[in-house]
Structure formats: C-alpha cells, structure tokens
C-alpha cells in the first residue's frame, strides 16, 4: 500500500521491536487528509481504490442477501420492469396511443436505465443511516456504502440487458449486438453519473432526514421529466424544437443518458414532419444506431460533473457521520 505522508506507517526502529511495526504491507484504511485528488496518492480516489476489496464484498453481500431466501432469485428483479412494460404498453398503445414502433422495446430500453438510477439511489439513501453501528465503530472509506448499492444495481442492469436482448434483437434487428460496445460505454458513463447522485443522497440524508420522505416525490417527478415513457422527438414534434418544455427536458441529464442508451438498443426516434392534426404518426424510428458524439459528450460532461459534485458533498458530510448517524 502506498502511504499518505501524514498518516504514514513509520519505519521506526525501536528497542525490543520484533521488526513488525515497520512492515509496510499495511491493510487498514488510512484516511486521506486531502480532497478528492489532493494530498497523498490521488487523495480520496486512491483510498477508494485501496478499499476495492471491501467494495466487492459489500456488492456480493448486497446481491446474496437479496436473493438468499427467495426461490425465484434474480428473476424477481425482472418482474417489476416486465410488469411495468406490460402495463405501460397497454396504456400507451391502446388507451392513449403513442404511435411509435415496438412500444414495449422502446419503453424497456429506457426503463432499465431508469430503474438503475432509482434503485441505486433508494439503496444508497439509507446506506449510511442504516449502517449506523458500523459507521460509528469502524473506520473505512464511507463512500463504499452508497457505491456498493450502485454497483449491485449495475450488475442487475447488465443481467437485465442480457435477459431482454433476445427480445430486442427480434424486434429491432441484430444491429443491437453490433452496437453493444456503445451500449456498454453509455452504461459506464451512466454508472459514474449514478454514483454521484447516490453519494449526494446518502450524504445529505444523514443531516436532512426528510430527504427520504421526499425521495418518492423527487423520483416520480424526475421520471416523468425524463423521456422514458415518451420519445423526446414527440415533444419536439408537438411543441417545436424551441419550446420551453423541450429546453427544460434538455437540462435534465437523464434525458441525455436515455437518448444515448436507447439509440443503440432501440434506434433513433425522429420526427416525420406530419402535421399534428393529420392523424398520422408524428415520429418514427430507425433501427439501432450510433448515438451522436454530441449526446455522448454531454453524457460524459454530466457524469464527471455529477460524480465530482456528489462525491465532494458526500465527503464534506462524511467527516461527521459518526456524530450524526
């Protein structure tokens, strides 16, 4: 382990020493005193890297505990998206039709992403408060607690993608496989983004417990403000590209992630140019395609910004977790 200068393991010879004090294969976590990247080897990120074993154990715990005593195991986590897909597909193809090809595939390609965000944050928000005993008694980098939820949900997302991919291939064509690397890149960017959001929720909830009550409302609003149920192109087609609502949607980072994720899995949705009252479909979609570089760049920007912001807030709060939990 590389040692931060202020808390270094010291090679101090000492009378009667067995020589073990000086050993530098220290395993215990040494809190970095600097910021995210400041002081010590890469500061907090270095510390986080040294805690990777703990992180993987916590992720394993998360997954094991969840499915330990259930007979259906992982399939349970597919049940919600499956039911949601059925319900929304019925509603939005029969009752209030959104005329878009393969609505179920369209919805799933966005909803899995949304679930990843929501479930990660839901786990993370309780991760510090719920592990109060641990936080008060043992030092370890606290961010592993929310991050373990994010990574566990990431595994769920990847497994879910595996499960739905046959359906996507059948409905949208084998190009889905061709663009798999882009899908995974988007997932990676999204994970960084979600990690930032999850740490923010975890950290702020310790001092502001109302957050967990507000959580449901926040995520409900956020869900409808994200083009998961409806294509962004439809909003544009109906309101015009410069409408306030369209601009507002563009401010929502999840809009960009959903677009970036959906394009290689489902395809790009674009306006047909038909008039709104002509009774024709306003939007149509191509097969799976590459998301534009702009979309990916915006996602990258949001991911880094949110991660650094969320992490910074979390670390500032983390100093006093042991007093406040």
């Amino acid at each position: 382990m590389v040692v931060a200068p202020r808390h270094g393991v010291v090679l101090a010879p000492r009378a009667g020493s067995t020589g073990r004090v000086g050993r530098v294969n220290a395993t215990n976590f040494e809190p970095s005193t600097g910021g995210l990247l400041g002081r010590g080897p890469l500061g907090k990120l270095g510390e986080l890297w040294r805690a990777r074993e703990l992180l993987s154990q916590l992720v394993a715990k998360e997954l094991k505990v969840r499915y330990k005593s259930s007979s259906l195991g992982f399939l349970w986590s597919m049940l919600t998206p499956a039911l949601m897909t059925v319900v929304f597909t019925i509603v939005f193809t029969r009752v209030v039709p959104i005329r878009i090809p393969d609505f179920a595939a369209f919805f799933l390609a966005g909803y899995l992403l949304w679930q990843f965000l929501q479930n990660s944050c839901q786990g993370a928000i309780h991760s510090i408060v719920g592990n109060g005993d641990l936080v008060k008694k043992v030092y370890f980098p606290r961010e592993v607690l929310p991050l373990s939820h994010v990574l566990a949900q990431l595994i769920h997302l990847l497994l879910a993608l595996l499960v739905v991919s046959p359906y996507l291939i059948v409905t949208r064509g084998v190009d889905v496989l061709l663009y798999l690397p882009v899908t995974l890149l988007t997932v990676a960017l999204l994970t960084v983004f979600v990690a930032g959001v999850a740490m923010w929720f975890a950290g702020v909830n310790v001092v502001f417990r109302d957050l967990q009550e507000l959580f449901v409302v926040i995520f409900l609003v956020w869900f409808y403000a994200t083009p998961v149920l409806y294509p962004l192109a439809l909003v544009r087609a109906q309101l015009g590209a410069d409408a306030l609502l369209v601009r507002a949607l563009a401010l929502n980072p999840m809009t960009w992630f959903v677009e970036a994720f959906r394009t290689p899995l489902y395809g790009a949705v674009r306006e047909t140019g038909a008039a709104a009252d002509a009774g024709l479909a306003l939007v149509t979609s191509s097969g799976p395609a590459l998301p534009s570089a702009t979309v990916l760049a915006v996602c990258l920007g949001w991911a880094l910004l949110t991660f650094l912001g969320g992490y910074t807030v979390f670390l500032r709060r983390a100093r006093t977790f042991a007093k406040e939990v």
Binding site: R6, H7, G8, V9, V10, A12, R14, G16, S17, T18, R20, V21, A26, T27, N28, F29, P31, T33, A51, E53, L54, S56, Q57, L58, A60, K61, K64, V65, K68, S69, D133, L134, V135, K136, K137, V138, Y139, F140, V207, F208, R209, D210, L214, R319, T320, A322, K323
Partner: protein, 437 residues
C-alpha cells in the same frame, strides 16, 4: 484531521514519528439537540429556535504513546473515553487539535459490527475482514486461525443470525485480532463472552503486548487494566485528570468512584459546609504510621472545621485496597455517634479506632462528612491517608482472619524453632501469590 488542524503548527516538543500516537490539544465538541432539527420544518424554523447546546466530550487533551506501550484509558461513563478511542481510530475527526498515529490501527470498538445476519459465518468472515481492511488473500491465509479461535467450525455455513450472542462476539473478536495491527484500540469488548473466552482474549492481548504492539485499552475491568497496561490515563469530564503509572491511575480512579457517588449514595452538595482540616492515621503509640503489621490497632483521627453552622453531621471513612476494592465503610452515625452542633469556624476531632485485619498490601482511606442520613455530602477527601500492611507470616490473602491451628488428634510436629510452643504458623503463600499472573 480537524478543520483547524492543518493550520496548527506541528507540536514542537514532540517528534511526531518518535511516538506511536501523538494527541495534541484535542477538543471534540458534540452538538446536543433538544429536538434534532433534521427535518424540513425544523430547518425552516431553526433561525428562531436554537435548541442545542455544545458539549465538549474532550477538552484540550494531549498525550503521547510510545511504540510498544500499552496504556489504559479509564474514567466514568461520559468522561470521553470512547470519544477518544474514536478519534484514535479516525472514526471522528478532531474539532480542534490533531491526532497522529504511526502504524496500522485496528480497533476493537464493537465486535461483529459489520455482520449481516442473513450471511453465513464464512461469508461474514470475508465481509468483516474486508471492512477491517484485509484483502481476500490475507483472509484466506488466516481463515483457519479465525475459525479455530472462534470455535465456529461446525456452524461455518449457517447464517449468523442463528448464532448465540457469545458466538457472535467471539467471531467478531477472532476476525478483529487477525488484522495484525501495530496499534490496537480496545473498547470494553473484553467484558463480553464467557469466562473462558475472556481469558483467551486477555491472553491474546498479552501476546500483542509482548510482541511490542501498542495497545490502548478502555475498560472498567480494573484487574485487566492492571494486568495489561503499564500506564493509565484517567479522564474526567473530557480532561486528562491523571497520566502515569497504571497502579496510581487505577487507584485514583477508584477513589473518584468511591467519592464521586453512585446514584444511590450521598449526593454531592454544592455547599461545602464542613472542611476536613486534617486526617491522620495513628498507631498504638499515638504516632502517625504509614506501615503496620497485620491486625494492629489503628486510629483514624479527623479534624473538621465548620464553614457554617452545622446542627449535626456524620463522619465517614471508606477503606479500599490499592486496586480500588471496597473493603470497609463506616459512618459514625451507624454507631449512634454524630458531631455537632458546630458554630461557624468551630473545630471537632473525631477518632475512629479500628483493627486493620488485613494482610500485606497497600490501602487507602477516604473520609467524608455527610448529614446524618447520608444523603448530602458536605466534605470529602479521597485518598486522605494511605498505609501499607507489612508482610508477615501467618496467612495469605486479603483479610487477616487471625487463625490459629492445632493438631487435635494424631502426632504433630513443630517446624523450625524447637522451643516454639504457640500455634504453628502456616507457610507463607505470599510469594506464590505474587508470582501468579
């Protein structure tokens, strides 16, 4: 490191790497809310209701611990012991001052804190090991040692929620001590588990100490403290009240306990209505003594002076052994004797005559003046006199039972002096007792 810590100059008097632990001017403040303002409504109203008080759990605490030293931190509940340990374990950053530790720190603050009930013993060993900072390879290497120490091999693949609480703690301890730290922080965890496990964990701690590790032990088990530690720090309301040899520290703490009142005992009254002017321990010849043979008649002479008018009061004495064992307590009222009335400034002298039926050791007497019901304490002197009982043949232990022996049937022999006709003295066991751990 505290917010202000980085701006503080490094302590000039101590070389930071020459010690295992350097605590410099640490103050830790807790904000005690009457009603925790963690909700939205409270936040909105907070500007007009500041319903908290700041409480300094530690105030300007400074000390250093050398490599290989084992120190005990003792004090009443709420004196800041656990907070100090959390600072050393870096669970809390100091609000002021700095804490520096050189070496790997392992803390046994709560055993099994990271266990998850649904996971098996095996899984929890890996999880808990990872929480303590061990890698998978390191746990693999020590896995058998952990399992054997905890004695859970048959239950390895059972969910730990089915474990007994003793087993739970044993497993937690077994994992924690395999971290192989340079500095071990222990908080009262030895108080759990059965006697056999306590012995084993004490043994384990001794091995740590003998390996030259630095140990910081927080415990109310004064016997364990004396056994394991060379040095004691006594904390009193967040301040270092004493820092020195363990025997003195333990004694001081014991007296504080004896005088600082268990809830049922006399309450300290703010008004010191009586002052204890002088306390003397006199031998049979009327001269002050510091050492006496067993079962000599002794007199405790206490001179009081009333600071204000006292209708009636009672003088009390408490005899404790050096390690704080409470041996004897007496209040004059128990014998139907009281002092008073005393005018302002009037003095009184009370003699308590007693026989110290004690065997070799160091003893201490605390004196106090209370009201006749023993509800209010008006004056107290902890450790008013100390005396030693000289080693003498005739018995071993704590109490001199003044035994005599005779062989009532069968042949008897007198050992040693052939002209000796009195009761045959028992061989001195003192040496053996001293040699015992």
């Amino acid at each position: 490191m505290g917010r202000r810590a980085s701006s503080r100059p490094a302590p000039a008097r101590v070389d930071p790497v020459a010690h295992a632990i350097v605590v410099d001017g640490v103050t830790e403040t807790f904000r005690l809310y009457q009603e925790r303002p963690s909700g939205l409504k409270e936040r909105l109203y907070r500007f007009r209701r500041s319903t908290y008080t700041d409480f300094d759990a530690l105030q300007d605490v400074s000390f250093t611990v050398g490599y290989g030293e084992s120190i005990a931190v003792i004090g009443h509940n709420g004196s800041g012991k656990s907070t100090l340990l959390k600072l050393l374990a870096r669970i809390l950053p100091p609000d002021q001052g700095s804490v520096r530790t050189n070496g790997r720190v392992a803390s046994l603050l709560e055993l099994g804190a990271g266990f998850h009930g649904e996971l098996s013993g095996r899984e929890n060993i890996y999880l808990n090991g990872a929480i303590l900072g061990m890698s998978r390879a390191q746990i693999d290497e020590r896995f058998d040692a952990i399992v054997d120490f905890a004695g859970i091999r048959p239950l390895l693949d059972t969910a730990v929620r089915t474990y007994s609480s003793g087993l739970y703690v044993r497993l937690g301890f077994a994992i924690a001590v395999t971290v192989d730290p340079d500095i071990l922080l222990v908080d009262e965890v030895l108080a759990v588990g059965d006697a056999e496990f306590q012995d084993r964990s004490l043994e384990r701690m001794r091995r740590f100490r003998d390996d030259g590790k630095t140990i910081v032990l927080v415990s109310h088990d004064l016997a364990a403290v004396r056994d394991l530690c060379d040095r004691a720090i006594v904390l009193d309301r967040g301040r270092v009240a004493f820092d020195g040899p363990v025997s003195e520290g333990v004694e001081l703490y014991r007296q504080r306990v004896a005088t600082a009142h268990v809830p049922a005992g006399p309450r300290w009254s703010g008004s010191r209505r009586v002052a204890i002017e002088q306390v003397l321990l006199l031998g049979a010849d009327g001269q002050p003594v510091a050492e006496a043979p067993p079962s000599t008649p002794l007199t405790l002479r206490v001179r009081l002076r009333a600071s204000e008018f006292v209708e009636v009061c009672s003088l009390g004495m408490t005899v404790t052994r050096g390690d704080g064992t409470h041996l004897y307590e007496l209040h004059t009222t128990w014998q139907g004797v009281a002092v008073g009335p005393l005018a302002v400034g009037q003095e009184a002298t009370v003699d308590v005559r007693f026989s110290a039926h004690l065997l070799a050791g160091h003893y201490s007497i605390a004196t106090s003046v209370t009201d006749v019901n023993g509800r209010e304490t008006w004056a107290v002197v902890a450790d008013a006199v100390r005396f030693a009982i000289e080693p003498a043949p005739g018995g071993a232990g704590l109490v001199d039972l003044a035994a005599s022996t005779s062989v009532v049937e069968g042949p008897a022999r007198r050992l040693g002096d052939p002209g000796f006709t009195g009761p045959i003295p028992l061989p001195r066991l003192q040496r053996r007792r001293d040699a015992a751990p």
